[in-house]
Symmetry: D2
Subunit: 388 residues, 4 copies
């Protein structure tokens, strides 16, 4: 009877203010009222990316914004450097191949992020600059591992390589500190349904000058995703095709909430909840493991948990959904059945975290995982420390 706990790592629980904003009547997307709205959100979204440059907003899923990042900057046969950090990094790589790019893949174990040293090594080995872009997923939604984009930028700089830096922030934006301009990212890809606390349906490209320049010569076929007509229309507060007006209402509401809390506080809140979650996992013991193996790379927006081999993570999730009306994230592809993921991002507070962890604890117990019942208490202790 109560409210569903949507603790997948996105879509996240939308705040009431955002949901009600969606229900406002649609307006003329070519009229002055829309123009004012568009200007507000196009401007208001910039600080969330840490940029003063343009952010393109697509009526599309995050997958579309991936495609946009590639087709606007690259040409058929271009080489791109990808890293097998998890399921979504792999999907992006597959998309690159589908689009006719050549991919240099750095293999990975799904328990670590992009290694800056490897970035430097790979780029240093390409003095001719054949690699046109480095594609990184900032926060791997499938593994709960956060790659260190600042360090990756430094690695690129050390290699003195001109490749573009393309970063997927789908499950990190507005949850984990991110600095498009400071880190000189060329295209930042994002979606509406995670830290921005909106339903899915909008996605984003924050675009550097260098990326814009690249788009002038990039030859991959593009139309819907083409930045140029969108940016030209955006300059006047319009879009070059019909925008998803009601989701923009929601975006305005969401930006207001983020601004009221302050991004620094938002990031700190996510870190606090991630620490408490990891405290619970450690206290549970019972063979559970945090999938991420490098503590510098712990995700603040989700925690992926490896279950002991004799248990089926999907069965645990099923029990939790049935008994406690909570959705958790499944293990995907390589880790299917082995991992479940707790989303602790978006509109989420201490008490919701405690309820979430309580449900996980009881679910593990019902599934017979031999955990210690002290997990929730460890999380409470962690939160309490930070509240003193």
């Amino acid at each position: 009877m109560g409210r569903h706990f949507l603790q997948i790592p996105g879509p996240t629980n939308c705040p009431d203010e955002v949901l009600r904003a969606l229900a406002a009547p649609t307006i003329d997307h070519r009229g002055p009222q829309f123009q004012a709205l568009a200007r507000r959100v196009l401007e208001g979204i910039k600080p969330v990316f840490g940029t003063t440059g343009p952010v393109v907003i697509y009526p599309a899923s995050g997958t579309g914004a991936w495609e946009a990042a590639l087709v606007n900057t690259l040409s058929p046969g271009d080489r791109v450097l990808c890293f097998e950090t998890g399921h979504f990094a792999s999907l992006w790589r597959e998309m690159a191949l589908d689009l006719g790019l050549r991919v240099d893949l750095v293999p990975g174990d799904w328990r670590h992020g992009v290694d800056p040293a490897q970035v430097e090594e790979r780029l240093s080995a390409d003095p001719g600059g054949e690699i046109k872009a480095v594609c990184c997923v900032h926060n791997e939604t499938s593994t709960g591992v956060t790659s260190r984009i600042g360090a990756i930028r430094q690695a690129i700089d050390r290699a003195g390589h001109p490749a573009l830096l393309l970063v997927d922030t789908i499950s990190s934006l507005a949850s984990i500190d991110y600095r498009h301009d400071e880190w000189r990212v060329d295209v930042t890809v994002a979606g509406s349904q995670k830290g921005l606390m909106l339903p899915p349906g909008l996605s984003f490209n924050a675009v550097s000058d260098k990326a814009l320049e690249a788009s002038k010569t990039a030859k991959l076929q593009r139309s819907y995703w083409d930045w140029q007509p969108l940016l030209a229309a955006n300059a006047n507060g319009f879009f070059s095709y019909t925008p998803a007006t009601n989701l923009l209402y929601g975006l305005e509401a969401s930006l207001k909430l983020l601004q009221e809390e302050g991004l620094k506080n938002v990031f700190a809140r996510h870190e606090r909840h991630a620490r408490a979650t990891r405290a619970a996992v450690r206290a549970w013991g019972g063979g559970l493991e945090i999938l991420c193996q490098d503590e510098r790379e712990y995700s603040a927006s989700l925690t992926a948990i490896l279950v002991p081999p004799e248990f089926d993570a999907d069965e645990i999730r099923r029990i939790i959904l049935d008994r406690f009306d909570m959705s958790l994230g499944a293990g995907l592809s390589k880790v299917a059945g082995k991992v479940f993921r707790i989303g602790h991002l978006g509109a989420f507070e201490d008490l919701t975290l405690i309820g979430t962890l309580g449900g996980v604890q009881m679910g593990l117990q019902l599934a017979g995982v031999p955990i210690d019942a002290g997990g929730v208490n460890a999380a409470l202790e962690s939160l309490l420390q930070e509240n003193r």
Copy 2:
């Protein structure tokens, strides 16, 4: 940023379906569409009271339905038997005095419900039948004590006394098993904002034939609260004055949810949460006491907790509101500052309970109450037992 935890013992957290129903456009309250709606809710509300008789719906707070119960059945100077079971019982008694009734008050300690033996004794001492009504609060919202109405009815029967039985179910209806017809209650008073999971603004009188008969000769001044014109209009699916149409939309949504879950399951859920809450209180120790002293009278919809004398319950509530964005109920009048109350009623599930208790635990710790940190775990254990 997340959703506020509204854990006062009402108003309760309204389900999304109910809130969105409120936002439907208002319709003509004299037209056929309204008529169909009114018939559905006037019929649909009956099983919630355990009655097949009429239920009067007022556009008013529960306080109004108290007044309605008295003015429709009694005459100036009539004697009524009241019980000092807590704040709301006292307010109802004061209202009776304000309306010109004479009140026989059975004093109480705010830690027990109405004693059926005292009912029998008092009525047996009134062979002339001067006492016209027995007024009981089923579930005292200020104390978390549930009086046993079935046993009270038996006491009245044993005394062979003709007094009307008027019962306030404001914080019990649709949360705690209640049987208007079976217990031969004459007027049951209820409100929208507790177990019915609506915002405040509607209140109810379920009315027995005997009460209707009494209303024909009752002389207390009445107009707005008069049952007769309302019931006459209701017979055709209308109201004798403008009804609170949008709250009726919400009521329809709420009745649908209750029906889907099944009242028995609703009651069992409330009991499960109350048991888990008491398990937490006992495990906390630290001088905390459950206010209710008779385990037969534990409330399933809220738990009032007495704090040790050296602590200020309001300060604890303030900390919890500030740090954890959760509202708890204050101690009222006699127990102000000494008691806080946890509402666990309405649209409420296991994980919300765990979050709620987690917030209480941390708040108590921050306030320096020397509790054991095992309270939440005890609640988890209690829930787990019942989920096996």
Copy 3:
């Protein structure tokens, strides 16, 4: 498939902003967030009444606010002066009788408002000041006749009579110019569902110092309606019983809309639409008559239209509802079947008026009333003149 035209003289079409505001989660009515809300609406409502004094807000229909006005100021057996200006004036008078007051009734023909000369005459004939209150309906919702309260005040003054002046503004407040303080009205009665553009469920008493003084000695039985505890609680931003929180959200949204448009503009808009409606009625001819016979008393919020005796106004309304999905007001009691009423108040603009009148015109034609088809055009011409 389109939106229903709710053109009864209230409830009116609620603006989207108001409807969505209703769907916000209910909050603790004893917490600081509620306190701030209550202070905003208690202050913000005052200018709408033209007062700087207190306005009591009830969780109740307008009928309740009628009762409140009487029971707070009068004692059993007190004489009040009432005027038979229509159905609602008659209902208020009946309520006065039910409450044990004595009523001096000035009969009327339902086509005129309160005659100030008669007020003066009646009061002058009561040198002993036995008449304790003069009760007027500002805008008779059943007839579309607006009594001139300013002139009535002058009449009372000329008579030098101490009677209280109680005025019902249920279908005029926030639609027709009204000045509680300037006209020295003692109690102004209002409801939420007309000019305030809310669903029904809130009602109001604006209260003068003189009325407050009278309440100290008034002896009519009262509890729910008693101003004193409400005003005492309001002083701190609270209510003495559970308020209808979500309707207060709507009220805040409505006050914002009224303030944005400006009350003067709101009044002018209603007058413009009333003039255009009358222009249509006159152009239709065909035996239709505007019920109001004194052009100084034309209502700006609704127009009641008398149909030729050979037609049934309810049948015309039925046709219009069936064919054009528009609700119109019925003739009530004395004028049942003879009159239909067009509400042109609340959230209502020129194009909605034209649609409304178009539906009325086609309905009259379908019913066989021998009208001239130029009615809508006459309204368009009237609007056009005022838009030049």
Copy 4:
């Protein structure tokens, strides 16, 4: 203060039921509740297209569905036959060129639809079957001209040509009779924000077996728009990337409304309103012209009106927006400033049409266009005839 009249030819006025459905909490797009929803809408949308085959739903604007239709069925350098029937047909052609297709363009005057005779002639002149697709816009949103797809299909058949038939129904679907299967259309392109009465953000491809077959060999670069993974996922009630869940809620609400009214009634309603609109235009005279010149091609969902050369259509629209809070469609590209467009589609009823035409009439008068004031009356007369 009243509701904005959104009378552009889309986005259209969303029904309240649809808007409120959007505000439901987002759910797990990989869970059983979503699966059931997806199955309902994927099945429920089929009859709206007149198909029993698959309909792909994109989180995207209609522009994206245009791209999807081309990239799934064609290869670089393929020839497609396009018709210059208006602005949107021209944009689609430009997209085809951008995507690397070769376009045979049949020029047009923007006042006629696709001529079936020319289709036959062009295809007959291509015995080698070099033309791979015929692209038609069913209802040109920029001109209010509806091409006769059934006749075009017959022309293709007469030519015995194997080209695919791709049809844009963005402003006709669910407003104008359309038969994907019967007319053997291969890809039907549609969007959410017109006849489906949703906000923008969803778009559609209904796909024939022949189109599916073509997609196996089509070589245009594609990823986001690729039918195959979406259809594979749809088979299980899921999507291959995150769907726009809340817009799917709205779609379910919209399908329910369409089903309740019945598609035949929906189409008849649109035709009735189009006829009444044209009656108004003719009665206005004053040099106004219906842009569409072939009465077999009159659009039922919008009417484009040519203003006399000495007037600026945009100025007329501006006046109407300022004075009457109504948005009308602008003339686009070739007819900018010369044409304004009245949308009469979606959730739209007789009285809204009358209000709309009343606003247009007054706007024309305020702009000084020498019209006859009988336009609204002519529309009323037209509606009345059809209501008898």
